[in-house]
Protein backbone atom coordinates (compact mmCIF):
# COMPACT_ATOMS: atom_id res chain seq x y z
CA UNK A 1 0.00 0.00 0.00
CA UNK A 2 1.40 3.47 -0.87
CA UNK A 3 2.84 5.41 2.03
CA UNK A 4 3.68 8.96 2.98
CA UNK A 5 7.33 9.01 4.07
CA UNK A 6 8.70 11.49 6.59
CA UNK A 7 12.30 12.15 7.58
CA UNK A 8 13.84 12.37 10.06
CA UNK A 9 11.77 10.42 12.58
CA UNK A 10 13.33 12.38 15.45
CA UNK A 11 15.10 15.72 15.50
CA UNK A 12 16.60 17.62 18.40
CA UNK A 13 17.51 21.23 17.79
CA UNK A 14 18.69 24.23 19.74
CA UNK A 15 16.29 27.09 20.31
CA UNK A 16 16.68 29.69 17.58
CA UNK A 17 17.95 27.22 14.98
CA UNK A 18 16.26 26.54 11.67
CA UNK A 19 14.85 23.09 10.97
CA UNK A 20 13.53 21.51 7.81
CA UNK A 21 11.16 18.58 8.04
CA UNK A 22 10.84 16.46 4.93
CA UNK A 23 8.00 14.49 3.44
CA UNK A 24 7.48 12.44 0.32
CA UNK A 25 3.73 12.30 -0.37
CA UNK A 26 2.05 9.53 -2.32
CA UNK A 27 3.00 10.01 -5.94
CA UNK A 28 -0.43 10.59 -7.54
CA UNK A 29 -1.77 12.77 -4.73
CA UNK A 30 -2.42 16.43 -5.38
CA UNK A 31 -3.19 17.86 -1.94
CA UNK A 32 -0.56 18.12 0.78
CA UNK A 33 -0.76 19.06 4.43
CA UNK A 34 1.20 19.60 7.60
CA UNK A 35 -0.29 18.95 11.02
CA UNK A 36 1.26 18.99 14.46
CA UNK A 37 0.50 17.35 17.78
CA UNK A 38 1.89 18.69 21.02
CA UNK A 39 2.40 15.83 23.48
CA UNK A 40 -0.91 14.62 24.89
CA UNK A 41 -3.01 17.03 22.86
CA UNK A 42 -5.14 16.86 19.75
CA UNK A 43 -3.79 16.95 16.21
CA UNK A 44 -3.83 20.51 14.85
CA UNK A 45 -3.95 21.73 11.27
CA UNK A 46 -1.04 23.90 10.13
CA UNK A 47 -1.25 24.33 6.37
CA UNK A 48 -2.65 22.90 3.14
CA UNK A 49 -0.91 23.08 -0.22
CA UNK A 50 -2.31 22.55 -3.69
CA UNK A 51 -1.14 23.44 -7.17
CA UNK A 52 2.17 24.75 -5.83
CA UNK A 53 0.71 27.23 -3.44
CA UNK A 54 -0.72 27.44 0.06
CA UNK A 55 -4.49 27.01 -0.05
CA UNK A 56 -5.17 27.51 3.65
CA UNK A 57 -3.17 28.05 6.84
CA UNK A 58 -4.00 28.20 10.51
CA UNK A 59 -3.16 30.88 13.06
CA UNK A 60 -0.29 28.69 14.23
CA UNK A 61 1.35 28.95 10.82
CA UNK A 62 2.97 32.35 11.28
CA UNK A 63 5.95 33.95 9.54
CA UNK A 64 8.33 31.50 11.21
CA UNK A 65 6.88 28.68 9.10
CA UNK A 66 7.13 28.04 5.38
CA UNK A 67 6.41 25.16 3.04
CA UNK A 68 7.87 24.19 -0.27
CA UNK A 69 7.54 21.51 -2.92
CA UNK A 70 10.97 21.93 -4.46
CA UNK A 71 11.14 19.10 -6.96
CA UNK A 72 7.75 17.51 -7.60
CA UNK A 73 8.20 14.71 -5.09
CA UNK A 74 9.31 16.26 -1.77
CA UNK A 75 7.21 18.50 0.43
CA UNK A 76 9.04 20.36 3.18
CA UNK A 77 8.15 22.34 6.29
CA UNK A 78 10.71 24.89 7.47
CA UNK A 79 10.72 26.52 10.87
CA UNK A 80 13.08 29.50 10.72
CA UNK A 81 13.87 30.17 14.35
CA UNK A 82 12.61 27.41 16.60
CA UNK A 83 11.07 28.09 19.99
CA UNK A 84 10.60 25.72 22.91
CA UNK A 85 6.86 25.64 22.19
CA UNK A 86 7.52 24.27 18.69
CA UNK A 87 8.36 20.93 20.28
CA UNK A 88 5.76 18.52 18.92
CA UNK A 89 5.12 15.66 16.55
CA UNK A 90 4.79 16.99 13.01
CA UNK A 91 2.73 14.98 10.54
CA UNK A 92 2.66 15.28 6.79
CA UNK A 93 -0.43 14.09 4.93
CA UNK A 94 -1.55 13.81 1.34
CA UNK A 95 -4.69 12.90 -0.51
CA UNK A 96 -6.30 12.84 -3.91
CA UNK A 97 -9.80 14.14 -4.65
CA UNK A 98 -12.60 11.99 -3.28
CA UNK A 99 -10.42 9.92 -0.98
CA UNK A 100 -9.25 10.11 2.58
CA UNK A 101 -6.10 11.57 4.03
CA UNK A 102 -3.00 9.42 4.39
CA UNK A 103 -0.61 10.46 7.13
CA UNK A 104 3.10 9.83 7.46
CA UNK A 105 4.66 8.39 10.61
CA UNK A 106 5.62 11.82 11.87
CA UNK A 107 8.76 13.68 12.90
CA UNK A 108 9.19 14.20 16.61
CA UNK A 109 10.81 17.62 17.03
CA UNK A 110 12.39 18.52 20.35
CA UNK A 111 13.63 22.08 20.85
CA UNK A 112 16.09 22.49 23.72
Amino acid sequence: EPEVTQTPSHQVTQMGQEVILRCVPISNHLYFYWYRQILGQKVEFLVSFYNNEISEKSEIFDDQFSVERPDGSNFTLKIRSTKLEDSAMYFCASRTAGYGYTFGSGTRLTVV
Binding site: Y33, K42, S48, S55, E56, G100, Y101, F103, S105, G106
Partner: protein, 107 residues
Protein backbone atom coordinates in the same frame (compact mmCIF):
# COMPACT_ATOMS: atom_id res chain seq x y z
CA UNK B 1 -16.34 27.02 13.03
CA UNK B 2 -15.87 23.28 12.66
CA UNK B 3 -16.71 21.27 15.77
CA UNK B 4 -15.71 17.64 16.30
CA UNK B 5 -16.44 16.16 19.72
CA UNK B 6 -15.57 12.65 20.87
CA UNK B 7 -16.78 10.56 23.77
CA UNK B 8 -15.83 9.05 26.06
CA UNK B 9 -12.42 10.62 26.60
CA UNK B 10 -11.06 7.45 28.20
CA UNK B 11 -12.06 3.80 28.02
CA UNK B 12 -10.64 0.80 29.85
CA UNK B 13 -11.59 -2.60 28.47
CA UNK B 14 -10.93 -6.16 29.41
CA UNK B 15 -9.53 -8.16 26.51
CA UNK B 16 -12.39 -9.70 24.56
CA UNK B 17 -14.90 -6.97 25.37
CA UNK B 18 -16.82 -4.91 22.83
CA UNK B 19 -17.05 -1.12 22.84
CA UNK B 20 -18.51 1.85 21.00
CA UNK B 21 -16.82 5.20 20.51
CA UNK B 22 -18.83 8.23 19.45
CA UNK B 23 -18.04 11.29 17.36
CA UNK B 24 -20.37 14.27 16.98
CA UNK B 25 -19.66 16.84 14.31
CA UNK B 26 -20.98 20.18 13.17
CA UNK B 27 -22.97 21.05 10.05
CA UNK B 28 -19.95 22.25 8.10
CA UNK B 29 -18.38 18.76 8.11
CA UNK B 30 -19.13 16.87 4.91
CA UNK B 31 -16.98 13.80 5.40
CA UNK B 32 -15.47 11.86 8.27
CA UNK B 33 -12.35 9.81 8.90
CA UNK B 34 -11.38 7.59 11.84
CA UNK B 35 -7.76 7.04 12.89
CA UNK B 36 -5.95 4.93 15.43
CA UNK B 37 -2.84 6.47 16.99
CA UNK B 38 -0.67 3.63 18.19
CA UNK B 39 1.75 3.83 21.13
CA UNK B 40 4.54 4.88 18.73
CA UNK B 41 2.53 7.92 17.68
CA UNK B 42 1.64 6.78 14.17
CA UNK B 43 -1.76 7.77 12.80
CA UNK B 44 -3.29 4.73 11.14
CA UNK B 45 -6.24 5.34 8.85
CA UNK B 46 -9.20 3.16 9.82
CA UNK B 47 -12.18 4.42 7.85
CA UNK B 48 -13.10 7.19 5.44
CA UNK B 49 -16.84 7.21 5.90
CA UNK B 50 -19.13 10.10 4.86
CA UNK B 51 -22.23 7.97 5.52
CA UNK B 52 -23.34 4.40 5.96
CA UNK B 53 -21.46 1.49 7.51
CA UNK B 54 -18.06 -0.01 6.78
CA UNK B 55 -16.32 -2.99 8.32
CA UNK B 56 -12.71 -4.02 8.52
CA UNK B 57 -12.09 -7.13 10.57
CA UNK B 58 -13.09 -6.53 14.17
CA UNK B 59 -13.65 -2.83 13.57
CA UNK B 60 -16.65 -1.22 11.99
CA UNK B 61 -17.92 2.33 11.65
CA UNK B 62 -21.27 3.91 11.01
CA UNK B 63 -21.87 7.53 10.07
CA UNK B 64 -25.35 9.04 10.20
CA UNK B 65 -24.72 12.28 8.35
CA UNK B 66 -28.26 13.63 8.80
CA UNK B 67 -27.86 13.42 12.59
CA UNK B 68 -24.22 14.56 12.59
CA UNK B 69 -22.61 11.63 14.36
CA UNK B 70 -20.39 8.64 13.72
CA UNK B 71 -19.75 5.52 15.78
CA UNK B 72 -16.72 3.27 15.84
CA UNK B 73 -17.26 -0.28 17.08
CA UNK B 74 -14.48 -2.45 18.42
CA UNK B 75 -15.43 -6.08 18.87
CA UNK B 76 -13.51 -8.75 20.75
CA UNK B 77 -10.89 -6.19 21.77
CA UNK B 78 -7.22 -7.14 21.91
CA UNK B 79 -4.33 -5.49 23.71
CA UNK B 80 -3.04 -4.27 20.34
CA UNK B 81 -6.19 -2.14 20.05
CA UNK B 82 -4.84 0.13 22.80
CA UNK B 83 -4.05 3.68 21.82
CA UNK B 84 -5.96 6.83 20.97
CA UNK B 85 -8.81 6.82 18.48
CA UNK B 86 -9.43 10.06 16.64
CA UNK B 87 -12.27 11.05 14.41
CA UNK B 88 -11.67 13.94 12.06
CA UNK B 89 -14.13 15.95 10.04
CA UNK B 90 -13.50 17.10 6.51
CA UNK B 91 -14.68 20.59 5.62
CA UNK B 92 -13.42 22.20 2.45
CA UNK B 93 -9.78 21.31 2.11
CA UNK B 94 -9.09 20.74 5.78
CA UNK B 95 -9.34 17.92 8.29
CA UNK B 96 -10.25 18.90 11.85
CA UNK B 97 -9.56 16.40 14.60
CA UNK B 98 -11.58 15.66 17.67
CA UNK B 99 -9.98 15.35 21.08
CA UNK B 100 -9.67 11.58 20.84
CA UNK B 101 -10.72 8.60 22.95
CA UNK B 102 -7.85 6.94 24.83
CA UNK B 103 -8.43 3.18 24.92
CA UNK B 104 -6.59 0.77 27.17
CA UNK B 105 -7.24 -2.92 26.68
CA UNK B 106 -6.10 -5.02 29.64
CA UNK B 107 -5.10 -8.67 29.23
Amino acid sequence: GIQVEQSPPDLILQEGANSTLRCNFSDSVNNLQWFHQNPWGQLINLFYIPSGTKQNGRLSATTVATERYSLLYISSSQTTDSGVYFCAGVSGNKLTFGGGTRVLVKP
